[in-house]
């Protein structure tokens, strides 16, 4: 039974990864689960310099989701390399490093510096953080800027590049195509969705940053639709994410056209989720008599899946 997939030159032992910012630098979860069972470890977004992040409250729970405005707190490239890389480097599964900047040049610089590290799996370009004013979202909602960022990183590294798209657009298609055209090897869809909450007792926005990014099961139907549309518009593979918390969720994304998936918010409340999904995929494939998980990619498109009659129970 084959679970391995390729994300633009990067081989993943299985299609289940984790979402940047929900898995720290991997080391924090090492006591709770065997990281080497994952498809890949994806670390919290880093930029060139250390980042203090936003004031608190940074996170608020909402119905079937949460809104965060962490503000990309992080140690910067040097801090990351010093504090976390020695641990990550010894893992058997690939590490994908999520990066961002406040200018095209900064993105390229971070890419260049990480290119020099040995053993990096891929770089994920976060052009869609809803919590950063300069940088972040602006690159993800302007196709021309997006193209520049991707092209500059492409020139700076030979590592596989994954562009993480913003959901906050009229149509994901031009962004997916811009990233592909500029040399991105894969796409991550989606980042959290701009949102807010108000505390009716204090009559103030709950988050110190006022707005933040909505994540968790509440956004899954939105994410799935974006993956579905992007998968039909580009040839590069997609890592699907947004509210995934069980095997059926992961299958929905794969059937919509994702080559791999990432577990995000669920790590916070159910740290075993990614491993449970890997086991669930195996069980599903056994039941369905599938030799290769890749047979499922995009199978929900007309003419690709099975006839509605041939239903079976899934795990």
């Amino acid at each position: 039974m084959n679970l391995a997939v390729q994300i633009g030159g990067l081989a993943l032992p299985n299609p289940v990864t984790v979402a940047s910012g929900t898995f720290g630098y991997g080391v924090e979860y090492a006591q709770l689960l065997d990281l080497n069972q994952l498809g890949a470890v994806v670390v919290k977004g880093i930029r060139r310099d250390p980042v203090r992040g936003n004031p608190t409250p940074r996170l608020v729970e909402v119905t079937s989701g949460l809104i965060n405005a962490i503000g990309l707190q992080g140690p910067g490239v040097d801090g990351f390399i010093r504090s976390y890389w020695p641990f990550l480097q010894q893992l058997k599964v690939p590490t994908i490093i999520n990066i961002w900047g406040t200018s095209v040049e900064e993105y390229a610089e971070v890419a260049r510096r990480l290119d020099a590290l040995s053993g990096v799996g891929a770089l994920e370009l976060n052009v869609s953080c809803p919590n950063i004013k300069e940088g972040g979202a602006q690159f993800g909602t302007d196709p021309a800027l997006l193209r520049q960022v991707v092209a500059a990183c492409r020139a700076a590294t030979r590592l596989p590049l994954i562009t993480k798209l913003s959901p906050n657009v009229v149509s994901i298609v031009p962004y997916a195509q811009a990233a592909e055209a500029a040399g991105s090897d894969a796409l991550s869809i989606m980042n959290s969705y701009p949102a807010m909450a108000i505390d009716v007792e204090t009559r103030r926005p709950v988050l110190a940053n006022v707005t933040g990014g909505l994540s968790g099961p509440c956004i899954k139907p939105i994410a799935l639709k974006l993956v579905w549309e992007a998968a039909q518009a580009v040839r590069i593979p997609i890592i699907g994410m947004g509210g995934i918390q069980n095997t059926a969720d992961a299958l929905e994304f794969i059937m919509a056209g994702a080559t791999a998936v990432a577990v995000g918010t669920a790590n916070f409340y159910a740290p075993q989720t990614a491993l449970q999904i890997i086991a669930g995929l195996r069980q599903f494939m056994r039941q369905e008599n599938l030799a290769d998980v890749r047979q499922l990619i995009g199978c929900a498109r007309a003419g690709k899946g099975r006839a509605p009659e041939a239903t079976v129970r899934h795990p």
């Binding site: 929900t22 898995f23 924090e28 979860y29 079937s64 707190q73 790590n267 740290p271």
Partner: protein, 288 residues
Amino acid sequence: MTRGGAARAPKQCAGQARTAPPPVCAPMVEQTAQIIANERDTGPYFRLRVRAPLIAPRVQPGQFVHVRILPLKHALLRRPFSVFQVAGDTLSLLYKTIGQGTEALARMRPGEELSLLGPLGHGFTVPRPDGEIPLLVAGGYGMAALYLLAQRSPRKGLVFVGGRQRADILCEAEFRALGWEVRVTTEDGSHGEKGVVTEPLRAELQRRAPGRKLFACGPTPMLRAVGRLAAEHGLPAELSLDQHMGCGIGVCLACVVPIKTAGGWEYQRTCTEGPVFDFRQIAWEAAE
């Protein structure tokens, strides 16, 4: 930014010196825990006892567990609670019902299951037999975090307990049974002295301060007042901070508090570097 130094394999570190905490601490586990008892204490307070053999024996005073309340389907996050008591492979929590999570928890029955992540965080430094005399200061459910400390402390001391009214004064008898002296204050005067908990503490310190150490858990204004008293008297004080949490294990960076550094301050995680901090480390000004 989070403090570095931690690419090595995670290891036990509760009670370790505060100077260079690695990003990962006491080996935590996730475990399904069956409810043994879940009963009302006074007013809105409940006591919950669960079987958690992988966690209970390893808990240090001031550490907490992050609890997934499974019936709470549309509210995703775990809820943090200090470990109140430990007995063999069971542990107890003392919690106040304040919102949907704690209310759902209060409706759960023996035999039902919770998911616990723990033990988490850096707890209190257990007093040495020859060390300072511990003065514990608690507001409301802050008592829960301090009981284990009193129990494990070879040196007995005083406990200052405060609350709005009689129902907020928890486990007074239990502290006395440990041989500790208890000073009660209530804001409405319905039990003990009328006033706030820091008043008898202030009086006590005016009477005799040297050789004492403060340990406090409660609302932020109380913690700040305790910090000021410690500063005035030049005493050490460990404060357990209360911050909303996401993951509880150091990855989401939701629970940060500003901590002084050589150059100024940086955000550290209540769930990992805390919840207990030396009062001198906290950059209160930056939190405003």
